[in-house]
């Protein structure tokens, strides 16, 4: 399957980091050498069998991969339509898909001879996964987190501290994920010669969107093989939530050339379609530049990044990975959004029917899956990326539901 320029959809990005017209590198000159060094080291590592061997060893013995493919029987019965299968990234060590990327990038950090790591985090899952990888390798680590997210994801803040990371609360701007990325970038501007920035999603300047996608692709590679093994066929539909879009990129990418497989990304619809009420740039935004790449973004007419809202800290972001913009505009994937309240209903349906507590981020994908499954026949198979578990959200959910402690 090709884009309008004749490039096969899986053969991106090009050497300039372009996914079609999206991606690229829009950063201060100071960071260029480190980005070039990262590109070069990643290219070498990919061709080095010992790198892949070490990463695969960590995936199996430290993370617990492969993650299971689970049939959500009662949820399927509740919907009365397509079969719902869950790719259980929530069962990974640290409770989400984020660890797939942080271990890969920690190995790259060591190969580049850098002795410190920084990261940003929204929900705290990437922060915990980075702190975990750094504790594993003995690398000092600082994590930037918006002050609003420090409040709503406090269990993860404490976990990061236990793991030895310094957690820096960011008080600027909207005090969420976007501001945490700004602060991490500013730190990197001064520390770039000795520090690696482990970015947590398929966003940022080239080569980050490619590297993070590749490390997360283990999700889709495993899931595709598990589907073929179980049914001798591919799923009809793959669904994942999209904030920056790393779990979605990870599960979608290995299916991109399978034209018959429908790919659906679910953004945070928040409180509604007005600007500032949602975090759904693919659904409601326009082409623009944010955090080093060209992609869909929520921006005003002056090019200032708009405020966004989501009940889920991990989706509360005004941009999205450039490869998702590429898949959207080429028609390979479709993107929709899910309201805060519907995500909460999705959360409750999965808890009650399956005994699985999903993250609020993941609950967006679950809610949309319930809606879509009900419209499809029982012959069809929907594969959902259950990207993370919801323990971190328990206190916030209690607050939102108004339950007593």
């Amino acid at each position: 399957m090709s884009d309008p320029n004749g490039t096969e959809l899986s053969h991106v990005p090009d050497s300039a980091g372009r996914f079609g017209e999206f991606g690229g590198r829009y950063v201060p000159e100071t960071l260029t050498r480190a980005l070039d060094q990262l590109s070069a080291e990643y290219t070498k590592a990919k061709q080095d069998p010992s790198f892949q061997r070490e990463l695969n060893g960590l995936f199996s013995d430290f993370v617990g991969r492969p993650s299971p493919l689970y049939f959500a029987k009662r949820l399927t019965e509740m919907c009365g339509g397509a079969q719902i299968w869950l790719k259980r990234e929530d069962l990974n060590h640290t409770g989400a898909h984020k660890i797939n990327n942080t271990l890969g990038q920690a190995l790259l950090t060591r190969r580049m001879g850098k002795n410190r790591v920084i990261a940003e985090t929204g929900a705290g899952q990437h922060g915990v996964a980075t702190a975990t990888a750094c504790a594993h390798f003995g690398i000092p680590c600082s994590v930037y987190m918006g002050a609003e997210d420090v409040r709503r994801q406090s269990p993860n803040v404490y976990s990061m501290k236990l793991l030895g990371a310094e957690v820096i609360s960011v008080e600027t701007g909207s005090r969420t994920l976007r501001d945490a990325i700004n602060e991490a970038m500013r730190d990197w501007m001064a520390s770039v010669e000795t520090t690696h920035y482990i970015i947590g999603s398929v966003v940022g300047p080239h080569p980050f969107p490619m590297i993070v996608r590749d490390f997360q692709s283990v999700i889709g590679i495993e899931a595709r093989a598990q589907c073929l093994e179980r049914w001798g066929q591919l799923p009809n539909t793959v669904i994942a939530c999209v904030g920056g879009g790393s779990n979605a990129a990870g599960i979608f990418f290995p299916f991109v050339e399978d034209e018959e497989v429908e790919l659906i990304g679910v953004e945070a619809g928040g409180r509604g379609v007005s600007i500032g009420d949602h975090a759904a740039p693919l659904s409601h935004g326009a082409h623009g530049i944010l955090h080093g790449s060209y992609s869909y973004v929520m921006q005003d007419e002056d090019g200032q990044t708009s405020d966004v809202h989501s009940v889920s800290a991990g989706l509360d972001y005004p941009g999205v990975g450039p490869e998702h913009s590429y898949w959207k505009d080429s028609g390979r994937a479709t993107y929709t959004d899910c309201l805060d309240d519907d995500a909460m209903a999705g959360f409750e349906a999965l808890v009650k029917n399956e005994g699985i507590l999903p993250a609020l981020e993941t609950s967006h994908a679950i809610a949309k899956t319930i809606e879509i499954a009900a419209q499809r026949s029982s012959d069809e198979i929907i594969l959902v990326c259950l990207s993370g578990r919801g323990d971190k959200d328990a206190a916030e959910i209690r607050r939102l539901r108004g339950d007593e402690s």
């Binding site: 201060p28 000159e29 100071t30 050498r33 700004n182 500013r186 623009g288 921006q299 090019g303 990044t305």
Partner: protein, 270 residues
């Protein structure tokens, strides 16, 4: 030839070095920025860098970032900045815009450079536009005699520095430190050597910025640079002018600070 080229040719003939204050556009309001520019021109500043506030600046330190946030929260629009540039169009000193590519791209490269040209903007500094991505904007700037001024940093490898210099117009903005903008007490020891090397690679003037805030810095750098850019040290003083009663005091303070730097600049360049 842009107004930036003419200014540096003129200064070279007179064996003078340039002082270029950075001011955030509209901080704390449009009329104050215009008055500050005019007063600083009167005491001898040579050209001005006018910063377009941006919601997500990555190269800027806390002082300049805070000025951006303050103004955007107060509802400053791009139209207000064009008004400022219109109001200061009769000044003799060239005005250079410092603007994120996110803003320029959103407006459209052609429309943005048309606006810049129409308001007499002599050059653009686009801190998040690398030489690899700069072709389209460079073409639009060239067509309108607007200098497109690139940044070269201590982390830029030599061959890349040459490539950036070859594509540059106006002058080269040499970033003194590896980091973000903001006043520093000490500048890196290898700075003068790096700038001297760069001078041999390009016929363009080289202005040094980031961290410069004290007369001692001027004494150190004036011999190697063609100009010095001072940002946070001005913006920090301007922040006091949020209180209207203090506007006059702040203007006097800005003048005094600039005079101190200019005195050092002329005695050192001599």
């Amino acid at each position: 030839m842009s107004d930036v080229d003419r200014l540096f040719a003129d200064l070279k003939a007179k064996q003078q070095k340039a002082l270029m204050p950075f001011l955030t556009a509209g901080d704390p309001n449009i009329s104050f920025t215009a008055r500050a520019m005019s007063r600083l021109e009167e005491v001898g500043c040579h050209l001005f860098e006018v910063g377009f506030p941006y919601s997500d600046p990555i190269a800027d330190g806390p002082i300049i970032q805070a000025s951006y946030t303050r103004l955007l929260d107060r509802g400053l629009k791009q139209a207000d900045i064009w008004q400022l540039l219109k109001n200061t169009q009769s000044m003799n000193s060239p005005r250079v815009g410092m603007c994120s590519y996110a803003i320029i791209h959103r407006r459209g490269l052609r429309e943005f450079t048309d606006m810049a040209n129409g308001h007499g903007v002599a050059g653009l500094i686009v801190p998040d536009l690398l030489v690899e991505e700069s072709g389209p904007l460079r073409a639009e700037c060239q067509a309108r005699d607007i200098s497109l001024i690139p940044l070269i940093t201590p982390t830029t490898p030599p061959d890349r520095a040459r490539r950036i210099a070859d594509a540059a117009t106006g002058f080269i903005y040499y970033v003194s430190i590896t980091g973000i903008t903001g006043e520093r007490t000490q500048l890196p020891p290898e700075l003068t050597e790096n700038v001297s090397w760069l001078k041999e690679q390009t016929p363009l003037p080289i202005c040094i910025g980031f961290g410069i805030s004290q007369p001692e810095h001027v004494r150190l750098l004036a011999p190697v640079a063609d100009g010095l850019i001072v940002g946070s040290a001005f913006v920090r003083r301007v922040a006091e002018a949020a209180d209207i009663a203090k506007e006059e005091t702040v203007l006097a303070e800005l003048e005094k600070f600039a005079k101190g730097l200019l005195a050092e600049l002329s005695s050192t360049s001599g």
